[in-house]
Symmetry: C2
Subunit: 785 residues, 2 copies
């Protein structure tokens, strides 16, 4: 139950009253020594059989009699004013049931001062019109019969160009979000820090627009039941879509039901209501028929979101001993036409190392490109690439072991606020990873011919503590099985599996005796977005609390039946055991005895601990082979050691690590959306010219989990595992490339061309200042400290 708590805080000399909402959660954490039966063990994927046999109902599988198909007419231009739209011909096409444009759609404010269907289009792919027809083919044909006259406008796709005062304006308010100052963080005294540094390093880094490329696109099916909208959609947040669509359509919340039973990933691009959902709902209303909207891969890659491309200017001042004295980051994130400034590019610089003097200036800039969207550890993947590339460069410059440099700057407390960490086994991750990767042996690698081997590493820091609000309900059936009802969603990560394990552990039931319901706002209470690596640490404790409350009811009934005290009872494997006197009774005997009387447990996630910083940590070590003649890079092995607190299921955690690394390899070496600066249009909105890793690109991945309960984090002791594994991969690969080939590529992806250019520079130019020895001097590489 939420409560409002008033606290008095001193803020700039003034005492102010602050109000906070908290949920009480009386569940003590499982202690590290407690022997758990189900939590912590590999458990096969709940629903896995359905997924691999094709029996799982994804949104695209929803079929409703009379359902229409929607296709969207998109702008072919990066920036234009729509002068007129003539839909008359399209509407006469047999099978066309409805057409929506800015002329007949309600004026729904969508992004800033723009509208669902706007008179201005701001990127190639912007929505201009939508058609609902009897088939996808008819809808597509109809799109060609819509005649649109545009007035072309000047456009800009380069973020640094876009920041100039005379640049074409993507939005009236100007291209730099929040104004020309940017988003500034500062601690200590930057100038003093640099003044006290022995060495100053200054580099420009660049990261690209990577496309999420979820297996499942942003599809949805909208249907009206009377005045109630039912929306099947592929989303990371059923409740968020409910709220967003209700707001867009002016509906009360109880008139929108969102369903997402199975889901084929979002990676951050499906966190709330999208235009497609509102368009489908409007067309369903207009046509009085269910409407399905299934974007093509091209549409998805044009308009479905990309990772914010960044430009980062990073300056670091270090003492002779490697101590960081000053860090200064100026980052520019290109948010495209409708992205937001959510990308925390400066996060790693601010919080990974113990550095007293830090300034980050983050800029988020509109351009006439497809919109940016949060993408698995947004900001940190990009920022970590720059920071950890820089750290590697510093280490080589100072002839220090890169790992030793990191330990010299190890932050024992959160550098931002000085808070204690709930747990921080990053040093252990370094040690374990170094051992697994053979870090100390790396200098001995034989370098023969054109193919050079190298080993690089990088660190990871990320949130993942989750927090309230999150709710769960658990009901016991009369045969001793249980129904766990939640409003969360399983976006492909194994949420169902993990939550069932937690409920089974707490209730003492077998995991297969619990059914979990996710992805239906009608059935389950509020659950947070499956993002920010927060699902397990938010939903997990809520589920445990619900199970605990059910368990207490169960044991109280069992104690009455067994005539022993409830305190003497424990449950395991569906059997309730009393110690003194020694008696057992099956859970199902108790539930059968009470018949249709139902044990209903309700649980909520309690507040995060005060004055404690919850972070996940990790380190990755990448081993690469670089062909110095062709520039070809092959990742041969990645070692990953991560800390997610208590591991609920090593299989799902391991999958997260493998998936993150594979996606990180794509980001490091091959993925990039190209927008042609001449035409402002995308050159590779497909999966032919846009390369993602295939099975042939995937190296040996070895991982270790620092499986140590974080008891001051929450009642299950777990932190999130979703995003961390992608964070260090690109930096570790870039550092390995340097180790192998002696060149630093500071612009992702690390292509053959870029490597060859850098190797060319190496041959032409003198050793750059502050740079470590190249591959020729490999033998002089310092040992690990």
């Amino acid at each position: 139950m939420p409560k409002i708590v008033r606290t008095r805080v001193e803020f700039e000399g003034e005492v102010r009253e602050r109000m906070a909402v908290v949920v009480e959660d009386q569940v003590l954490p499982w202690s590290a020594r407690e022997k758990l039966d189900i939590v912590g063990r590999p458990h096969p994927r709940v629903g896995g059989r359905q997924i691999v046999t094709g029996g799982a109902t994804y949104t695209a599988d929803v079929q409703i009699p009379g359902m229409l198909h929607c296709k969207i007419r998109r702008s072919p231009l990066p920036h234009a004013e729509v002068l007129s739209i003539d839909t008359a011909e399209a509407q006469t096409l047999f099978g066309v049931r409805g057409v929506l444009t800015h002329a007949n759609a309600p004026r729904i404010r969508w992004f800033g001062n723009s509208f669902l269907f706007d008179r201005f289009v701001r990127f190639e792919g912007d929505e201009v019109a939508a058609v609902a027809a009897d088939s996808e083919e008819i809808a597509e044909d109809a799109l060609d019969l819509i005649h649109v006259r545009y007035r072309e406008l000047p456009f800009v796709v380069d973020p640094e160009q876009a920041m100039k005062p005379d640049a074409p304006r993507v939005h009236k308010e100007g291209n730099v979000i929040g104004g020309p100052e940017g988003d500034v963080y500062e601690r200590g005294n930057l100038e003093e820090g640099f003044a006290r540094s022995n060495h100053v390093f200054s580099e420009r880094y660049e990261t690209q627009a990577a496309v999420h490329n979820c297996l499942e696109p942003h599809c949805c099916v909208a249907m009206w039941n009377g005045d109630e909208l039912v929306l099947w959609t592929s989303t990371q947040h059923a409740y968020g879509v409910r709220d967003g669509v209700a707001a867009a359509l002016g509906l009360p919340l109880h008139k929108v039901r969102v369903i997402c039973e199975f889901m084929g990933a979002g990676f951050g691009s499906k966190q709330g209501a999208g235009k497609h959902e509102v368009i489908a709902a409007l067309l369903a209303k207009m046509t009085e028929r269910p409407v399905r909207l299934y974007p093509s891969r091209r549409e998805e890659n044009l308009a479905g979101g990309v990772r914010h491309p960044t430009i980062q200017y990073l300056r670091a001042g270090v003492r002779r001993d490697g101590k960081l004295m000053a860090l200064h980051l100026r980052s520019i994130a290109n948010v495209g036409a409708y992205g937001t400034d959510s990308s925390e590019v400066g996060g790693p610089v601010r919080e990974l190392y113990d550095c007293a003097n830090v300034r980050t200036e983050q800029f988020a800039v509109y351009t006439n490109a497809g919109p940016a969207a949060a993408f698995r550890a947004p900001g940190y993947v990009e920022g970590m690439f720059a920071l950890e590339s820089m750290m590697d460069q510093i280490a080589y410059s100072l002839s220090m072991d890169p790992l030793q440099l990191r330990l010299v700057n190890y932050a024992r407390k959160d550098p931002v606020r000085g808070a204690t960490y709930s747990s921080k086994p990053l040093d252990e991750a370094y040690r374990t990873g170094a051992k697994m990767a053979g870090w100390n042996l790396r200098a001995k690698a034989q370098q023969m011919g054109a193919r050079r081997r190298g080993l690089g590493m990088a660190s990871q820091i990320w949130g993942g503590g989750g927090g309230p609000p999150a709710y769960a309900i658990i009901r016991l059936n009369s045969d001793g099985t249980a129904d766990l009802v939640t409003g969360t969603q399983d976006i492909g990560t194994g949420t169902k599996t993990v939550l069932v394990q937690i409920a089974a552990e707490e209730l003492g039931l077998k995991a297969e005796d619990i059914r979990i319901t996710v992805g239906d706002t009608l059935a389950g209470p509020y659950a947070p977005v499956s993002a920010g690596s927060m699902t397990v640490p938010s939903m997990g404790p809520a589920v445990r609390a619900a199970a605990k409350s059910a368990r207490e009811e169960l044991l109280s009934l069992a104690s009455a039946l067994m005539q022993v005290s409830a305190a003497s009872l424990s449950i395991r494997n569906g059997i309730i055991t009393s110690t003194t006197p020694s008696k057992t009774v099956a859970v199902s005997d108790v539930t059968r005895r009470i018949g249709d009387f139902m044990i209903v447990g309700k649980g909520a996630r309690g507040p995060n601990p005060p004055n404690v910083k919850v972070r996940t940590f990790g380190a990755q070590f990448a081993e690469v082979e670089v062909d110095v003649e062709t520039g070809d890079v092959t990742v041969t092995r990645v070692v990953a050691v991560h800390d997610f607190g208590r591991i609920i299921n090593p299989l799902t955690s391991g999958s997260q690590i493998e998936g993150g690394i594979v996606q990180g390899i794509g980001f490091a070496l091959m993925e990039e959306r190209f927008v042609d600066p001449e035409s402002g249009t995308s050159l590779n909105a497909n999966l032919e010219a846009y390369k993602i890793p295939t099975i042939l690109d995937i190296p040996i991945i070895e991982h270790a989990l620092i499986d140590r309960p974080d008891e001051s984090c929450n009642s299950i002791g777990s932190k999130g595992a979703g995003e961390p594994p992608i964070i260090p991969t690109a930096a570790a690969i870039a550092n390995a490339v340097y180790d192998a080939a002696g060149v630093r590529v500071r612009s992702l992806p690390i292509t053959r061309e870029k490597i060859l250019v850098e190797i060319g520079k190496l041959k032409l130019q003198p050793k750059p200042a502050g740079e470590a020895p190249g591959p020729a001097q490999k033998r002089r590489r310092p040992r690990r400290g």
Copy 2:
């Protein structure tokens, strides 16, 4: 939360410990003086627009891609052994996907010692085989290609014949359920009672098999999601179907989900799992496709259940002053091939009147006819016809006002156990009804020509107190709307409407701001069967308890925000008001303030009060015109006065009264399933030869509600309204026919033929002993006392 309570009870001299499950419910009843805003007022049907515009999704409307259609091959014989079934030809028919017979179906025990598909068929319509095919037409064609060889067996369709020792046995165990003794109840000393009587009346009554004729047949759609069965079905008990189907298929309960969003009535015939649901599930498993089973009206009328036909021998002994001294009933209920003995024909005799010496002997007898099933107030409709016909006869014989006779025998306490009634305003119902009907003026009716007018009345007693277990969950959304989640079902009675009103009243919200979910065992917690007039009194208090718990959370938050004590706060129309100091805040302001934090209230129905008898009461007065030349009876007006405790919604209560009376008129005058004793087959399994009332048969219906909260019944003060209105109708009509035409028809339905036969007897025979004056002596009819 269910608790087990141990109580010590003395039973036949021994002290025994008895265990009972109780649910705590701390909600005090609304007092009678409390002014309620929403409860007690007419509120239009929730979902009504969907129903009348065709937008409601009934089970028959469920369409799933790839869905097959199932048809059932039924026995054409009343009793036979199936020697062989040859399905080879059917299986080769294009489009046939699966065929089930006793040869390949799992041996699922179904009724007593018989099976889902049995080697013996016991009535015309018994299931022999089932086909799943691409269309209903193909499935029907395939039925004709199944070749069955039967060995015909002797059969019996008359229950008194079936009771004879040498009668053909429908089941091996014998035809009389529970053995030849029957089900005996006795109090006082019957012989003494009769000995002390001045008059003894002895009559034989007969009631017929009436078909439920729900608008929606017993249809279902079965689909497997992996190892989970999803079953859409037209049912009065979603949880009951879940439990029954799970038991039949050997599935754990959490692997079965039952959905029934809209439902077209059950009248008692859809209380649990039926063969059709198990057959559909098996065929869906076999074919790996969803399977829809939609019985025809003929199948429905053959096998879907009928009201138990009864034969009742009733003997009554009365003193000169009308005091009942003894009542003896011997009743025989024909349960058909697979009915049960649930029919409490003796109920009215045992509990309506204050009579010290009572004996009821109830027999339930198998015959080779379609199975009986509970039908709106089972037993009481039949028993009341006999008892109240007899009371009328006694009154006329004693020259007493029939109403006065009832008051002479008025039971102030429950005659069965001596318990106090939670409330019993039956006397008020008599008075009000008599006034409305013009009871005192009835002797003045002009009797001209062949059409004679008459007025008759009868009483009603029935349960309707409901009780636990019943559960509800209510969640508040951030915009101040609410989701009420239940596992109950709205069988067409207005359950959704009434429960929304209760939640709105308790929460102080507008009714339209609450969405209710019913009919999905995945979403809602356990709810009882919608039968026994228990839905409102069971679910209502559970919903109120859930709303109260949510209200308490809401007010605690509001008090923190408003900085006033929670005790000073009240909510009305979505506005929270504090008295001192005078402040207001909208509910939505509070919920918006807490954002995604959710108020979740959980409620359960508390126990029924101990040592109190909860009963509903009522009286109906029927006015008829009898054409003494043709025997034609026209009901011209029915006045009904009923007590259901507090009326939540006068519209839905009124609809129950009207519906009950219409169904009662059909039962009194026209409905009857004929089974030919020569062939054992049904002669009118259709809606052409089986007559039900049409709009032309419906008289003026006037009703009054004794809208007085029953505060010792439950926290909402309401009792059930579903069944009572049909109970007295047939008796009141029969008594009116006597009043009009001077003849008693003791066998329902009262057809023209039966009336003419009785009038013929009247002309031929001397006045029968103990019988009142006929219509010729109308002027001598006694006045109301």
